[in-house]
Amino acid sequence: MSQSDLLVEASSAATTALLIPSGGPAASAVVPLRLPGELYVVRARKGQRETVICPLDLSAASVSGNAVAPAWSSPALVISAYSLGSVYGVAETLLHELFGADASLKADIETDPDTGIPMLVFRMGISRELRGLRNEFLDRYIRETQIPPGAPVPVLSWTYDRAASA
């Protein structure tokens, strides 16, 4: 992709809109962009999703018309990038209210081995005796949270202490 293919234009909100048109090289490419702050577009090969690497705020960026999404390198990054902090906060508050101070909540990332699609998981550890309250948790969690448009929906996962086993 040549540097002349890069379009940088100002939006009506005076925010620089970064547009990289389609029709780049078929082979893999690392394209440095002429913007301050060491900005690169990396494409592993044709048809693969491009990765934009830079220290800038990319919330308004697009690559070939596709919105830039954060890499799933850590659950904290995913929660922050998709504004899921309040959802996590409500889950934590409800968890302790219903299951006590000893209940635990940990955000995690899992990958579906069949599809390679990542999942944001809220892992909740509770006392086995209280697992009957899961439905009450779910009802309140649904009532009290809003998933931002485009954000991944956290998958709830339950484990129990003193679990019964065969």
Partner: protein
């Protein structure tokens, strides 16, 4: 005769109640798998009926559970999506993560969640969001 989701769930219940000779984790994992598929198939059938897709149209697992779990206009649809997401993750653990323990409690909960989902589904059948069928992978 097409496979009924209720029939799949009956197998999960039967395994749970009759506890065949090979008991313990292999049993719990099998129960989790059947519970998830009963819930997933029932949800797909409901979406196919709502949008008049061919029976057995392929709706990707992640798309079904995530779309429903994030469907803000309808809390009961979100509930179904959340149960489906939980069951989907547990089924992934049961089928692929041999080092991770699957407990009897978790398999019991999987059956209970699938039963609740199948009971709730008819009441939200007309409110389910559209999910486009895809080619099978």
């Amino acid at each position: 005769m097409p496979l009924r989701p209720e029939g799949v769930l009956e197998i999960a219940r039967a395994l749970k109640e009759r506890r065949p000779a090979s008991s313990g984790e292999p049993l719990f994992r099998a129960i989790v798998g059947r519970a998830y598929y009963a819930a997933y198939l029932a949800t797909c059938d409901a979406i196919c009926a709502r949008y008049r897709y061919q029976l057995d149209s392929y709706l990707p697992h992640e798309a079904v559970s995530q779309t429903l779990a994030g469907y803000q206009p309808e809390p009961d649809v979100r509930k179904i999506g959340n149960w489906l997401d939980q069951l989907r993750l547990l089924r992934i653990d049961a089928d692929y993560k041999r080092a991770k323990q699957i407990s009897e409690d978790q398999s019991d909960d999987a059956v209970a969640d699938a039963e609740q989902l199948l009971r709730l589904l008819p009441s939200v059948a007309t409110k389910l969001p559209k999910i486009d069928p895809k080619e099978r992978p």
